[in-house]
Amino acid sequence: MTWPIVVVLALAVYALRATGMFIGDKLIKGRVRDTIEYVPMAVIAGVLVLTTFTTGGSLTLDARAAGMAAAGIAVWRNAPLAVVLIIAAATTALVRAVS
């Protein structure tokens, strides 16, 4: 992550918001509008499995998977964010320590 990336991203994200504010009604309608609502979920799910099951661009299965399984149960049980993160980290550290 470098300065140019952050600057470009910041400007572009602001541009997206302002576009919606100033000319959104004219620009976006129908199917595109419906599809965009689903994009964050799709991307987040993609990034989340990649950061769990890959190392340096290839598939791997290690202690992170155990941590994420535990985190999954916590999320399912509606645990607060801090608790989810602590459970995930603690489980991963534990599995790493015994294996």
């Binding site: 300065w3 990336i5 910041a10 993609g46 990034v47 941590g67 994420m68 989810v84």
Partner: protein, 217 residues
């Protein structure tokens, strides 16, 4: 206020993750203040960390942020006839909670006031949270020893869980997106699997149309 606390925790953990991935602390603060989106920032560092190029990473982040453009549309109706500078400023903190409170008000004046108040909370707690995480992050020696390296995917999992609760087709979108990323990883160059998982968005929409009538979505 529970919302402020959750934004604070989300900001702190996002910044912690970024510092652990080796991002400069000032860059963490800059993205906190100027990008003003947790999910877009997470998408960016996720793709970069998976070995994707800067262009792919920014593309993924912008696709995630595209929904702010959509959120802006109902909000813009509340700012009809207001000066350009006011609408330009109001565009900066467009996030789900602020737009949601503006929705609930029945006249435009109180809608704008609620939006402003909620946005102040979001912006302040987000920046403070990220700053806190940036400082804490440099105190933790090796993230792997404490299992801190799963904080990032776990944060995403919690975010995804929150979205999945909204409807069954949202949950389905997540499962398909995850599946595509895994299957694509051995087949295409780094960075691309995430962009491919976006295809799940149109499948999720298709599922909603297929389930029409039975699902409250």
């Amino acid at each position: 206020m529970a919302y402020a606390v959750s934004v604070l925790v989300a900001g702190t953990s996002t910044a912690l993750v970024m510092v652990n991935l080796g991002v400069d602390r000032w860059l963490v603060l800059a993205s906190a203040a100027f990008v003003m989106s947790g999910t877009a920032t997470l998408a960016l560092i996720g793709v970069l960390d998976a070995g994707g190029s800067a262009v792919t990473a920014v593309a993924a982040a912008l696709l995630v942020a595209a929904r702010f453009g959509l959120l802006a549309i109902p909000l813009s109706h509340r700012f009809r006839g207001r000066p350009v500078w006011e609408r330009a400023i109001a565009s900066y903190p467009i996030l789900d909670p602020g737009v949601a409170v503006a929705f609930r008000e029945d006249n435009d004046v109180s809608a704008r006031r609620s939006y402003l108040r909620m946005s102040n909370v979001s912006v302040t707690t987000w920046i403070v949270g990220m700053a806190l995480g940036a400082v804490l992050g440099s105190l933790i020696p090796d993230p792997k020893t404490w299992g801190m390296d799963v904080a990032f995917p776990a944060l995403l999992l919690a975010t995804a869980g929150g979205i999945a609760r909204k409807s069954r087709d949202m949950a389905l979108t997540g499962v398909i997106g995850a599946g595509i990323a895994i299957v694509a990883t051995p087949l295409v160059p780094a960075g691309l699997p995430v962009l491919l998982s976006i295809l799940a968005a149109s499948m999720g929409l298709g599922a909603r149309r297929g389930l029409k009538g039975g699902d409250p979505a």
